[in-house]
């Protein structure tokens, strides 16, 4: 059993969720409410990782993470280290690869909040922030939960992009999914079986917890 791979996977999934969900609440809400030119283009960009082969996304990320590319150079300037084959690199890749899984459920949820509920909140004296916290977020909560669940589970299972930009450095970029592949390559069938079972269990428990929590809404029962 590769415990350090499990730890990398869990850390990666947790950080991805922590960073991506607040950002997706902002972006999903903006896409749901705002009417602006180029909105379709924006939505297409968000959805792109859904259809792109992970190796293609990984390839472009690998290029842009290089020290002679603007993004890689900027990162090196600010942090003093590179992005390729580091945990920060696979985290950044994971954030991009998971964008549609996080943004789309949240955007759909905001689109289903009747517009006049916000207006009713304003007329009741609630500021825009209070309206967001007390009216909108509780109503889109199931969407947020499902975004978090999808992002978490998808990060645990992500393989292609991580392998392209991270390789398989022990304790840094070797996630559980990659470790399983390594075990199979090394004919360690038992190790692969153990880790596969563990990944299955973790994914199932996460999803079960999240959907269970999201489903407990007394007011939504008809």
């Amino acid at each position: 059993m590769d415990w350090s791979a499990l730890s990398v996977s869990l850390r990666l999934a947790a950080f991805t969720c922590l960073i991506l969900i607040p950002f997706s609440i902002w972006l999903g809400r903006a896409l749901a409410y705002a009417r602006f030119r180029g909105k379709g283009l924006c939505e297409a960009l968000v959805a792109l990782p859904l259809v792109l082969p992970p190796t293609v996304l990984g390839f472009y990320l690998l290029l842009s993470f290089g020290r002679d590319a603007p993004l890689g150079a900027f990162w090196a300037e600010v942090t003093g280290s590179g992005l390729n084959f580091t945990f920060n690199g696979i985290l950044l890749a994971s954030l991009l690869a998971n964008l549609p899984f996080a943004v789309q459920p949240i955007q759909r949820a905001f689109e289903h909040v009747p517009h006049n509920l916000r207006e009713a909140a304003w007329c009741s004296g609630l500021s825009p922030w209070q309206t967001l916290l007390r009216i909108e977020l509780p109503l889109v909560w199931p969407g947020i939960m499902s975004a978090a669940a999808l992002t978490f589970a998808h990060t645990l299972g992500e393989f292609g992009v991580i392998l392209m930009v991270g390789g398989a450095i022990d304790g840094e970029t070797r996630t559980l999914a990659i470790a399983i592949y390594d075990r199979v390559q090394a004919f360690d069938e038992q190790g692969a079986a153990q880790m596969s079972a563990l990944l299955l269990l973790v994914s199932f428990v996460t999803l079960g917890l999240v959907y269970g929590l999201a489903g407990r809404r007394r007011w939504a029962r008809g």
């Binding site: 207006e119 009713a120 909140a121 007329c123 009741s124 004296g125 609630l126």
Partner: protein, 385 residues
């Protein structure tokens, strides 16, 4: 600026707490409306769909900003387009009941109301919210979520939420349209009772003339965003300011006539008849084409057995063209010799007693005091059925 009532006269401001609205814009939603609502008064904005009723309500609430105009309430300027001044909905202190109530589905009835009493210190909030729920007769239902309440109960929660804010003006956007007839009657009655306890301007948006007549002190008639006339229901139905207003109010008996002199007296020539008119005829030049309107209540059917009051006024013979029995009321259409149709309602038993049947000739009087003269011709309007 002078606040002109849409009827043309200056509307007296009896108290500084009134609501005054004057807005104007060519598009995208055309608006040219002016109205005033005094505290304790219920003003109904009526008009067909697309006449800008809801937009005007949203303008008062601060949810819509027209290009020109002002909104003033209780001496405060809420909106002034020229000075680029607009208070947010939060700062206008309004109570609004939305068409579909817009209750927060994830909060109980009590919490819905409690959200709008946050101007009070924390310990009083719950008590105040409960007080408002009991005022709208929802004691004991505070713990329910909106989806466990009936349509009428939801409307009451919405009303309690709007009033709990201690608003400066109460805005009602078609508040009775989403409930059944029986519930609607009951809610209208309750609103009429509740009104006696609140001394703020109330603006009701409705397309239901009956509802407006029953509830409102003043009615403002809107058409394509323009306010055509503001008056009491009684004045509006007897003295519409133009043929268009009469048409929007579903009035019949709109006709064309000419000002003439008969034996040295001013008369209104209508087909072969020259009618006596109590008011307004002397001011018009001879030969002037006018549109005139007669409220159905000023058409008096002569009884066959004995004469009744007012028979000497403008008597004329007409043929019964159509009788439509609607329960206890019968709608009678009479064809006058030159082709125009007079329409009025009488009690069904009276129609039977007078043996009214299609084709019979009857005598009626058109009361001179009821004849209302309007500028412009009615051609486009009096062929309506």
């Amino acid at each position: 600026m002078g606040w002109l009532g849409a009827g043309g006269g200056l509307v007296a401001d009896v108290c500084g707490a009134s609501l005054r609205v004057a807005v104007n814009q060519p598009g995208p939603i055309p608006l040219a409306a002016e109205f005033v609502c005094q505290p304790g008064e219920l003003l109904a904005l009526v008009g067909p769909s697309g006449s800008g009723k809801t937009t005007l309500l949203r303008t008062i609430a601060g949810l819509y900003r027209p290009q020109h105009g002002q909104v003033e309430c209780a001496g405060n300027v809420w909106f002034d387009a020229e000075r680029k001044h607009s208070l947010s909905p939060q700062r206008r202190q309004i109570g609004m009941v939305f068409q579909d109530y817009a209750l927060f589905p994830h909060l109980t009835a009590l919490d819905n109301v409690q959200l709008s009493v946050r101007h009070l210190p924390q310990p009083q909030r719950r008590l105040q919210a409960e007080k408002w729920l009991s005022k709208v007769r929802l004691e004991g239902l505070g713990g329910r979520y909106p989806n466990a309440l009936s349509g009428g109960q939801r409307q009451r929660v919405a009303l309690a939420r709007a009033l709990a804010r201690d608003p400066k003006v109460l805005l009602l956007d078609e508040p009775f349209s989403a409930v059944d007839q029986v519930t609607r009657r009951r809610l209208q009655r309750e609103l009429a009772l509740l009104r006696q306890q609140i001394e703020i301007p109330i603006v009701l948006v409705t397309h239901d003339l009956e509802e407006a007549t029953a509830l409102a002190d003043q009615i403002c008639v809107l058409h394509n965003g323009a306010s055509l006339q503001q008056a009491t229901p009684e004045a509006l139905f007897t003295r519409p300011s133009s043929p268009l207003v009469a048409r929007l109010l579903d009035r019949h008996n709109l006709f064309d006539g000419v000002v003439v002199t008969v034996n040295g007296q001013r008369r209104l020539q209508w087909g072969a008849c020259s009618l006596e008119v109590a008011e307004g005829l002397d001011e018009l030049p001879l030969g002037e084409q006018v549109t005139w309107y007669l409220p159905p209540s000023d058409i008096v059917l002569h009884r066959r057995d004995r004469p009744s009051l007012g028979e000497r006024e403008n008597p004329l013979a007409a043929t019964v063209d159509e009788l439509v029995v609607l329960g206890g009321i019968t709608s009678v259409s009479l064809r006058v010799n030159h082709g125009d149709m007079l329409r009025f309602d009488i009690a069904t038993h009276a129609a039977r007693r007078n043996q009214l049947t299609s084709g019979t000739v009857v005598n009626v009087s058109l009361l001179a005091a009821g004849v209302h003269l309007m500028p412009g011709r009615a051609d486009a309007h009096n062929n309506r059925t």
